[in-house]
Amino acid sequence: MSTVHTVLSAPTAGAVPPVPHTAGGALVIDGLNAWYGRAHVVQDVGFAVAPGEAVALLGRNGAGKTSTLRAIMGLMPRMSGTISYAGCPLHRAPAHARFHRGLAYVPEDRRIVPGLTVRENIRLGLIASRERRDEDTVIADIARTFPRLRERLDQMGTSMSGGEQQMLSIARAVAAGPSLVLLDEPSEGVSPLLVDEMYELFAGMKAAGTTLLLVEQEVERALEIADRVCVLDQGRLVHVTSVDDFRTDAAAQARWCAL
């Protein structure tokens, strides 16, 4: 069985592509609706992400991107429609059960737990993992893959810079070796240098067969790694296309993604 760390270190390790994850399958979303109170923030959204594929979910602020990811992870107060992953229906499963199906979620606000060290935050990522992998090994692997966290393992997670906290949030989410990672604006408020590092990690995850659903404001960044693009506008899915088509479609970019 592969570990996410061999996965993450793929680009630097080079030559041999690591073994893909277990149980990766397609994510299929159909007729998805979600509400906050009476606000209908996701409206009849349907799309699929193939195993190993990276899909960029784009759109303006307030378009419903975060709500869509939250609905996939089981965190919306109210939703309807169907979500399945690797053939199993997910939409009735509680959030923690979705984790055990191989989903990981890196929230927009990072959610580093205050009062816990970097190491403890990483341990949280393993705490419910059913394969009881040796914690020290995993943390050593993570320290290798995320050099920025290595020297800070025993410092409080929330004492780090925003970018480092984002790295920690990603490390924690992938510690248990998920096969599908939902990323919500990972580059937001992160220095360009760290964003480069981060996208190298994503490329490594993708090369190892991890499926990615990536929400980004920085369209160019997202296009570097994505295979396809889905665009949301006012809660609706308005455009699905290949990266190459989207990159050359200035009109579409201006219409749905301009700030």
Partner: protein
């Protein structure tokens, strides 16, 4: 009256023993509030349930150990039932719903005790081995009270180790800060909440049976203790474990010494203590540091 140093020390030990009981009750109250944001008004009733379950078991078995185990198990089970069946449907509705509900639970339990065991109360004698006192060189102290304080300190040390060093402890620390991230990382938080509620109730039950040899058991015995435990959690800082420990022992000693020097004010002492602490530190002693830190 002649107040000697010896008497003051004696009374201080009595105060620490009282404090140990407060701490055991307040720690559970604090954990339940910190993780579930439930202000558990049934906590005094769990204390009472522990005392009755222990005394009843002792009557059948003659064993103090069995009495202690029964006190913990019965109160933890009633706590677990209360959380799973009664409190759980109220999550997400604001703090007043579970507050009123647990208030109701405590009425039911107190009345059940009156029906089952009568209104007049029961008592339990200490085993021979624990009666009497020990000579510490500078005075002669009641053995059971000393053991109660020492046992509570050991239990608190174990609890602290558990929270700082174990996997469960990490879940508790994270759950108090951000239950959402726990769910996303695969933890079924409803099970954590159930366990915490049962654990807190079990600790209250243990406190009940430990206090029973000193003050007997009556259906209403939990009322005063609940008030004291609330004062302890407020003084210590809502949700802070360290605060509950310091405030619990501090309050026990303060009440006890007031009883010695100014008996008329012993009931008032607790609230004066609370008022002074809150004037100096509005969030309680450890309020700002937050839960379990």
């Amino acid at each position: 009256m002649d107040i000697t140093l010896d008497l003051v020390l004696q009374q201080a030990v009595t105060g620490l023993a009282l404090g140990a009981v407060y701490v055991l009750v307040a720690v559970g109250l604090s954990l339940i509030f910190g993780l579930l944001t439930v202000v558990n008004f049934a906590h005094g009733a769990f204390f009472m349930v522990g005392a009755y379950a222990g005394i009843a078991t002792h009557e059948y078995t003659g064993s103090f150990l069995a009495a202690g185990v029964a006190a913990v198990v019965v109160s933890a089970l009633i706590g677990a039932f209360s959380e799973r069946v009664l409190v759980r449907p109220l999550y997400g509705r604001g703090i007043d719903y579970p507050l009123l509900l647990t208030f109701g639970i405590s009425y039911v339990l107190v009345d059940a005790a009156r029906i089952l065991f009568g209104r007049q109360g029961l008592s339990i004698d200490l085993p021979e081995a624990l009666q009497g006192g020990i000579d510490l060189g500078f005075g002669y102290f009641p053995l059971y009270r000393m053991l109660l304080v020492a046992g509570t300190l050991v239990l608190l040390a174990l609890l602290w180790l558990g929270i700082e060093r174990t996997r469960w402890g990490l879940i508790i620390r994270a759950g108090a800060r951000d239950p959402l991230i726990l769910r996303v990382l695969g933890v079924d938080v409803s099970r954590v909440w159930l366990a915490i509620f049962a654990f807190g109730a079990g600790l209250a039950g243990l406190a009940g049976i430990l206090a029973a040899p000193l003050r007997g058991a009556t259906p209403e015995m939990g009322d005063g203790v609940l008030v004291s435990a609330f004062v302890v959690t407020v003084v210590g800082g809502m949700g802070s474990l360290a605060g509950a420990v310091v405030a619990g022992f501090g309050l026990g000693v303060a009440v006890s010494l007031t009883t010695l020097f100014a008996p008329a004010f012993s009931d008032l002492a607790m609230f004066v203590f609370m008022a002074i602490v809150l004037l100096v530190r509005p969030n309680g002693l450890f309020g700002r540091a937050g839960l379990l830190s």
